[in-house]
Amino acid sequence: MPDLYNKLFEDVRVREGLKACLNCGTCTAICPAAEFYDYQPRRIVDILQTKDDSQIEALLKSDTIWYCGECMSCVTRCPRGNAPGKLIQALRSLSQDLGYFTESEKGRQQLAIKRTIGKWILEYGYCLFPSEILPGLHPEQGPIWEWEYQHIEAVMTRLGANYKGTGPGILRKIPDEALDEIYKIFEVTGGISRFDKIEEFSKKKAREMGMDMESGTNDDYVKFIYTVNSGNHTKKNED
């Protein structure tokens, strides 16, 4: 079993964000995730400072570390200089590198994000692209987006974009040389390796769960992780 605490400590965000927690609760007081989920950022720091690998392993495999919205409100308040939000980032990184993320309902969702945001970064050079934001998958974007989507070129032109064009401007076609450079950056820094791991471990999990996982966003496994919510994530009501 890998030495989890030490591996975590290699992450510069843990060296920066793990001081010593005195359990004052100012982070949890202000955390949006703590309002809605059964989650306390204070507990995250408290567990990490025990250096107990078995607790850390349980954390890496749980839904708990996936509730945070990375708003960093906790960082502003901690009187000891801890940064629970950054520790969450480090935990999520390690969880994916070790494959533990597929053990939890929320963790499994990383594949859906990799196949959308991850794919678009490499393909377009942007994290989002209008043609990819399907109104069907985003009903909350409203009728306004549905109309925009149907008339995207006209709307973009109207608003002064250089949609898919050469040269500078909004939503320009990013030159292929630049996209090549980004790809190489991802290769050299471990980004591609992270993407591959997300795929590999997810494939294993999908097989275990008896689901089909091809390469798009339409396969059973991806649809499953994108939509399923067990409803067990909020606080238990105490009578």
Binding site: K19, L22, N23, C24, G25, T26, C27, T28, A29, I30, C31, A34, E35, Q40, R42, R43, T76, R77, C78, P79, R80, G81, K235
Partner: protein
């Protein structure tokens, strides 16, 4: 030759050191920047743990101030230097003094609660400090504080300006907890329909009868203690405050509306202490309070022969502790002056 000592600071430490030095036959000059003696003692109403009237302690100190002490009030120090024979002081009004020994008793200031921006002190009307509450208690105006308020709840916030890396004060100010418990009792005593909550991190009831006060606050007065540090205060339309913290014992975030927030502000070294220390070359700790020559055995001396420390220049301390420390300082000064003959 006449043995002389200058005491800078006319608060509790300075006054008691002066009284004792006089009794030991030393010629004393006492310099105080305000127009009257007493320092922070003048701000308090009743003192813990026995809730006695602070005026009684003020009177005891005043009684000791007789003509033998050369008093300089409204006196600000311009420069201060040590020429190895004497300690020399020039006041801003031009007066020059010198002595064989020097006692730094310039005390502390309370933490400026405006620095804890998220608490809204100085911005929202219903956020006050523990010092300001004492004044309402002294003037018997507690009821006025609650006039016209829609909420009958008070939140007392512990550790304001202490144990806090964000404001640069890592240390504990020691006496705020018992102050909070005392004030909680005092409010409940005078206004039984007001609900009082103490929001603490740890309850530092370290001295004699402090723990008993905590018990009394809960059992007799129904003060509610919640373990959670205040994260944020925001103002509602009716000027009540919405406070956010976590009840760490149940692990649940907590939001509450209160009518009044009382911030237990801690100690910070006074700017004057730091200024004089730098003029003399005295050592400051990481917490910016002054360091004695030895934490256990030489708690009133410094590395500079003839320069002594008394009271809260060394860190947070209460009235009783300060009076004791001042007497110890006086003894050290007298011993030093005797050994020089």
């Amino acid at each position: 030759m006449n043995k002389t000592a200058i005491i800078i600071g006319g608060g509790v430490a300075g006054m008691e050191t002066a009284i004792q030095l006089l009794r030991l036959g030393i010629e004393v000059y006492l310099i105080e920047k305000e127009s009257r003696l007493g320092g922070h003692l003048n701000s308090w109403d009743h003192l813990f743990p026995n809730r006695r009237d602070s005026k009684e302690v003020s009177e005891y100190l005043q009684l000791g101030m007789n003509e033998g002490i050369s008093l300089h009030l409204n006196a600000e120090i311009d420069t201060l230097w040590n020429d190895k024979k004497k300690f020399n002081i020039k006041l801003k009004d031009g007066t020059r003094l010198n002595s064989d020994a020097l006692v730094i008793a310039t005390g502390y200031e309370v933490f400026d609660a405006r620095k804890k921006e998220e608490y809204g002190y100085g911005i929202y009307d219903n956020v006050i400090t523990s010092v300001e509450l004492e004044e309402f208690l002294r003037n018997n105006e507690l009821k006025r504080l609650f006039e016209g308020k829609t909420s009958k709840r008070v939140g007392i916030i512990h550790c304001v300006g202490s144990r806090d890396e964000k404001v640069g004060n890592l240390y504990c100010s020691k006496l705020c907890c018992v102050t909070g418990v005392k004030q909680a009792i005092e409010i409940r005593e005078r206004m039984p329909d007001i609900e009082v909550f103490c929001f603490y991190m740890d309850l530092r009831m370290f001295d004699r009868y402090f723990e008993e006060m905590y018990f009394e606050a809960q059992e007799k007065w129904g003060v509610q203690f919640i373990r959670g540090r205040l994260s944020e205060a925001a103002e509602n339309q009716d000027h009540t405050l919405l406070i956010k913290l976590e009840d760490t014992l149940t692990g649940l975030p907590l939001k509450m509306n209160v009518g009044l927030l009382i911030l237990l502000v801690g100690f910070v070294p006074s700017p004057e202490t730091r200024r004089l220390a730098s003029m003399l070359g005295l050592k400051e700790g990481d917490d910016r309070f002054l360091c004695p020559a030895d934490e256990h055995t030489l708690t009133n001396s410094t590395k500079i022969p003839g320069v002594f420390l008394a009271g809260t220049v060394k860190g947070p301390e209460g009235i009783a502790g300060t009076i004791t420390d001042a007497r110890a300082a006086a003894l050290q000064v007298a011993a030093y002056l005797t050994s020089r003959e």
